[in-house]
């Protein structure tokens, strides 16, 4: 029977190393996908995954006072991703050559039968969206990714980013306004 997250966290804070290993296994994919959406490449996503769990390990004593482990974990990951975004400011790490990444690309774009032309068009569109996201400042970008890509609520994002919900709303609104402006033609074409 799978163990609950709070019980794993409690065992981990009591010094049980196997509980930490279990937490890594449970959350590494979530952190990787989130980091990939924020940073747009495998190497940075990999760095975020490793650094996030190492930081959690070092801060294990703090976990006794943490009520929401998932939010705590994602906060560490997003803070590190923001650091990387600021470090990368001025050049885009995004590549359209996804074939260089390990594993298979999982793209669920549509249920209908797709022609090579459709697939190419979708790939171009996704790249345009990613480039538009890349132009946003780190906080706005991460808010948009957490809300519109990953599906977190505004209240959850406020907890993750440790800021008022009004700030989340504001950042999300500004991010969407900028994205609408950049992707204006694309959005009009889809009507």
């Amino acid at each position: 029977m799978p163990k609950s997250i709070p019980s794993l966290v409690e065992r981990f804070t009591s010094g049980d190393e196997s509980a930490f290993a279990e937490l890594v296994t449970r959350f590494q994919k979530k952190i990787y996908y989130l980091a990939f959406q924020m940073l747009g490449n495998h190497l940075d996503a990999d760095e975020v995954v490793q650094e996030t769990f190492v930081r959690v390990y070092r801060r294990r004593q703090e976990l006794r006072n943490v009520s929401n482990f998932t939010a705590f974990l994602i906060r560490i990951a997003t803070n590190y991703a923001i650091d990387l975004l600021r470090r990368h400011k001025g050049h885009s790490p995004i590549t359209d050559d996804q074939s260089s990444l390990p594993g298979e690309i999982q793209i669920e774009l549509s249920q209908r039968v797709r022609t090579p032309s459709d697939q190419f068009e979708d790939k171009v569109l996704m790249l345009e969206i990613r480039r538009a996201l890349e132009m946003l400042p780190p906080r706005q970008k991460i808010t948009a990714v957490l809300h519109d890509v990953e599906g977190y609520s505004k209240a959850e994002i406020a907890e993750i980013l440790d800021c008022p919900e009004a700030t989340v709303r504001s950042n999300l609104h500004i991010a969407r306004t900028k994205l609408k402006k950049v992707l204006k033609k694309r959005l009009a074409k889809r009507k």
């Binding site: 590494q28 990787y32 070092r58 294990r60 594993g103 990714v145 969407r176 959005l187 009009a188």
Partner: protein, 189 residues
Amino acid sequence: MTCQHLLSLLEDYVDNDLSATDRARVSEHLDCCATCRAEYEAIRNLKGLLKRQPTTDPGQPYWSEVSSLILARTVEAAPLAQSGRTLRLDTSERTTFIRALVSAAVSVSILVAALFLGSGVELQQPVAVLVAKQPLLISSSLTGLVDANHGSIITRDEQIRLVRGLSLLGPPGAIGRFPVIPNLMTTFD
């Protein structure tokens, strides 16, 4: 409801964050206002496109490898975590620190080996000047140095020891970076 009021509620409407009453009022307005309807469509389409952003699964070997790496790194961090201290070094600083340590260790070993190998040899002035001025050229001139007829100056045994000593006096890290030097050395054994 005015268009301005509607626009202030529109994103919450798209996100399904409005009360039932406000939702009904927004719907009513959208049914009769083409401008606001266009704005609603734009936000909805944008949200739909962002939701479709592809994700990449790096594959099971990666997940196993990254788990092992994390656990290995936490073993390094364990004493710090237990003592309650915070390690301030980030990844790049740690890499630089490790490189500096390795570089220092290599430099010391090169110095010790050079002293040991060259202890019985007195360098001729022209060779010493060459080493001091052009250390990078040592690797390409070793064969010529050994093969040349220096019988009247030093013996062959002394030449071999001299070559070993000279190769170690090159720039730190030269040995191992240029395979020609170790290969050359083995031919003398």
